[in-house]
């Protein structure tokens, strides 16, 4: 669509020069005079009471300035990941408890003059644990008489009351079905593995104001919960996050360390910095919820789905974090993607003495749609139909009720499937002769949809301020976090487009909670959709005021004016014009107008769609699966920055391939010990493992709720590629896998069982 001049172009990203020159300041790059280094002592037991903790020797080590244990910190129960407007939360975390609930949980923190001394001090802290019976796996935690991990749990080891969704009548639906398919699908534990380890730096000023430099997606949440737990008013807490080295959802939480850093800084009256080691990003970070999904669907002979029943059990790990949201979103997602009038869905979230699961790109839907899309492939076979045909037949479309309760806009899913089917010549691929050699190739397709916003689970709000400077340039103040996706550039493009300015005339201020308007944070693929819309609204208001001023000066009605490339002209009379600069400059006797406009947007939800087409090759002697190529077809409404949007898709595919084939953060099921908390044994695809990706982006179903019709894209790719791979493996070797990751050993076992 070439009706726009800034939106839709891959402009030079505003954060990029700093990143490629090494000038970009990440939270870990900040250095303050007198800064102390903090380290956490972590336990090596899955479930235990702390009978005794003695820090006297640690305190005596020269260079150690402060040590904190559960005796020294406020005992305030908090959410861990506090989305204050969230519909479902669980308050189950203390800064430091007298109990540990997973192997690796923090029990003390030390601040010292060097990292080496802080580390040595950790060894001098003596802890006596009283081990408690542990429930390390889902089955152990759900068994009758299982050890209770949280007293605050509503019942047993449930994080929340189970989620239940009922529409129509499944019994009737199954009765009408010609074919019924049922299966259990098991999804493992991938983790985000962002490149920048968690880090924070805290400093108090003499007035008792706390400043926190931190790598976080939710600066205002961090501010809010630190204020609440430390007993401070909000205007005494300032959170700064300029550049971030990735988050993928997992940096929405607090990790015990932020409170401890602040408390250590307060006690020592010096700035205190704490950076996770890579190992700690595994131990103390957030992984995806392992999940078990039981799914049953009924189909008519012609492929129409008549009923869908499912139960999804999410493994929360030792604390709730995003368990409630993930369970709800993942479960509700099963009402959609492939239309079905009769659904009965249950979602449960269970505590285990295992690493904490939290928010991670896809947010519960990665798990449930893996199951759903694979089962659709199974159904297609049983019905003697092409999977693409079956999926197209049932694809959700305009007017259908989405998981959020809103009508779907457009036919994005159908568009993706049809486009992809044609592009890869899917019918020919299906009809091709299959090889019989040691290496077998196969093609598979995976579909998904995902919402841009966390509505209705969270009543979100995006805010923006647009200020026009007296020389006609504009500054956008946005609370949106800069995960690295290019969001701030996209927002600047939206503002420039709305104002009629060039991209260069707009700059963005972000990252300081003292300066920017409140924002809920960057997650749920909503920075463009929500933050962008708020920015557009603010820009529209600023433009209105600007044109009033220009109308005055040109002696025309503002209604007759338009702005393009920073020039304000009477519509149809280009000669009657002035530059934005001229409009804003003070004139004799008249000061520059003070134009500061705000925009607030409380979104509902829009859905983006994708269909991924994947070719794999399976070595039937070693069981190794290689992805040969991926053709992702995405529908995103309106592409703000093509390169940035494609980047999201391709990066999501890397993570999705990892999920499906090689990534699993494993723990010992007897002791709860982490088995692979490192990059050498947590295997992400690297440059030689990644296939060529031919990204296709469609704009066939723009959503009026988004800026210029734009929707999100961040989470879609990771959801679609997994089932596409599993389905391709089936096409290659005739073995159906219903879990991830699919290991070579499992492939060999399955082949020999055939």
């Amino acid at each position: 669509m070439s009706d726009l001049s800034v939106v839709g172009a891959s402009v030079r990203r505003s954060d990029m020069r700093a990143k490629v020159t090494g000038a970009a300041q990440y939270a870990g790059d900040v250095r303050l005079p007198g800064m102390l280094h903090a380290k956490m002592k972590r336990c090596a037991v899955a479930h235990a009471r702390i009978a005794r903790i003695d820090v006297s020797k640690a305190k005596a080590l020269p260079g150690v300035k402060a040590v904190l244990t559960h005796h020294d910190v406020p005992r305030v129960l908090h959410f861990g990941s506090p989305h204050p407007r969230s519909a479902s939360l669980a308050k189950d975390q203390y800064i430091l408890d007298d109990k540990v609930r997973y192997w690796g949980e923090g029990v003390a923190a030390v601040a010292a003059t060097s990292e080496e001394i802080a580390e040595e001090a950790l060894d001098l802290i003596e802890v006596e644990y009283e081990p408690l019976p542990a429930a390390i796996t889902l089955d152990q935690a759900m068994a009758p008489g299982a050890p209770r991990i949280h007293d605050v749990a509503p019942k047993g080891n449930h994080v929340i009351e189970p989620v239940r969704v009922v529409r129509g009548d499944v019994a009737k639906g199954f009765a009408e079905a010609d074919v019924v398919i049922e299966g259990v699908y098991e999804m493992g534990r991938p983790t985000p593995a962002y490149m920048e380890p968690n880090v924070c730096l805290c400093q108090w000023d003499v007035e008792g104001k706390l400043t926190v430099w931190i790598s976080t997606q939710t600066a205002f949440m961090v501010r809010g919960i630190l204020a609440e737990v430390l007993g401070l008013p909000l205007n005494k807490v300032r959170v700064i996050c300029d550049h971030m080295g990735g988050g993928f959802g997992a940096k929405q939480d607090l990790f015990q360390t932020e409170f401890l850093c602040a408390l250590l800084a307060r006690e020592t009256r010096r700035p205190v910095r704490l950076e996770f080691t890579r190992k700690e990003t595994f131990l103390g970070g957030r992984s995806r919820h392992p999940c078990r999904v039981w799914l049953k669907q009924g189909f008519k002979k012609d492929g129409t789905i008549t009923a869908r029943q499912a139960k999804a059990v999410y493994n929360s790990g030792a604390y709730a974090s995003h368990g409630p949201g993930v369970t709800s979103v993942g479960t509700f997602a099963l009402t959609s993607l492939y239309r079905c009038d009769n659904v009965l869905l249950e979602g449960e979230c269970i505590y285990t003495n295992a690493p904490i699961a939290g928010a991670f790109r896809g947010y519960g839907v990665t798990q449930t749609y893996y199951a759903l899309d694979i089962q659709m492939d199974e159904a297609a076979e049983r019905l003697g139909m092409d999977p693409a045909e079956l999926k197209l037949k049932n694809a959700v479309r305009e007017g259908d009720l989405s998981p959020s309760g809103h009508p779907i806009v457009g036919h994005g899913l159908e568009d993706c499937v049809k486009h992809g089917v044609q592009l890869v010549s899917w019918k020919d691929l299906r009809n091709r002769k299959k090889g019989s050699g040691i290496k077998r190739r196969g093609w598979g397709m995976g579909c998904e949809m995902h919402g841009s916003s966390a509505y209705p689970g969270i009543k979100e709000q995006g805010n923006a301020i647009v200020k026009l400077n007296e020389d006609g340039t504009a500054t956008l103040f946005t609370g949106t976090a800069g995960l690295g996706t290019g969001a701030h550039t996209a927002l600047a493009q939206i503002v420039a487009e709305e104002l009629g300015f060039t991209f260069e005339q707009v700059s963005v201020v972000h990252g300081d909670t003292d300066v920017v308007p409140w924002d809920i944070g960057a997650f749920a693929s909503h920075t463009t959709y929500m933050g962008g819309k708020a920015a557009q609204l603010a820009a529209a208001e600023a433009k209105k005021q600007l044109l009033e001023r220009a109308g005055d000066r040109l002696e025309v009605s503002p209604k007759d004016l338009e702005v393009k490339d920073g020039v304000i002209a009477v519509r149809g009379v280009p000669a009657k014009s002035m530059t934005v600069r001229e409009a804003m400059l003070p004139t004799r006797g008249q000061p520059s107008p003070h134009i500061v406009a705000t925009g607030t947007y409380t979104p509902t939800k829009s859905y983006s769609f994708a269909a991924h087409f994947v070719e794999v090759e399976v070595d039937t002697e070693t069981g190794q699966i290689e992805v040969l190529q991926v053709i992702p077809v995405h529908e995103l409404g309106r592409i703000i920055h093509p390169v940035a949007a494609a980047g999201q898709i391709e990066g999501g595919i890397q993570q999705g391939i990892g999920h499906t084939l090689t990534e699993d953060y494993m723990i010992d099921e007897k002791t709860g010990r982490s088995l692979n908390p490192s990059f050498v044994d947590y295997k992400m695809p690297l440059s030689m493992d990644m296939p060529p990706i031919r990204t296709v982006m469609l704009e066939t179903a723009p959503d009026p709720g988004g800026p210029f019709g734009a929707k999100g894209v961040g989470e879609d790719p990771i959801i679609a590629v997994g089932p596409a791979i599993a389905n391709a493996v089936y096409d290659a070797i005739g073995v159906r896998f219903r879990h991830y990751p699919i290991t070579p050993e499992q492939v060999l076992q399955a082949l020999s069982a055939k």
Partner: protein, 158 residues
Amino acid sequence: MKRAVSFIVNGERLELELDPFRSLLDALRNEAGLTGTKKGCDVGDCGACTVILNGKPVNSCLVLGVEAQDARIETVEGLQAADGALHPLQENFLKLGGAQCGFCTPGFLMMAKALLDENPHPTEEEIRFGIAGNICRCTGYTRIVEAIQAAAKEMRRE
């Protein structure tokens, strides 16, 4: 006990007092104030800390500062020209989407520079082999490879 260590970084001589157990990475980031090089894992698994040491790309987290005595070191801060013009690698990473969060970018840029210094005509396979020790979690590598190819092409024309 700290010792005096002197090496040349991006053409400038630096004199530092370093503990022997201080890695070159930490020396650059803390003592020398050059925070462009990043710490992703500190154990040589991710390449984020890649610098060029006496003409060879290495993980600076696994080099002791004291081992770099009299060495010639290039970091990302020295990649652009004296007048601020971006190196073709920087320009192409910027333009073509070779960077998103940017945390791995300095490591990739230095590894790519070393690669192109040694082999100005790399095939895609050679590029992927060359950067196999650099982890990116944002891009899927597609645009990183494209950016390196584009830079190589430009550099051959110069």
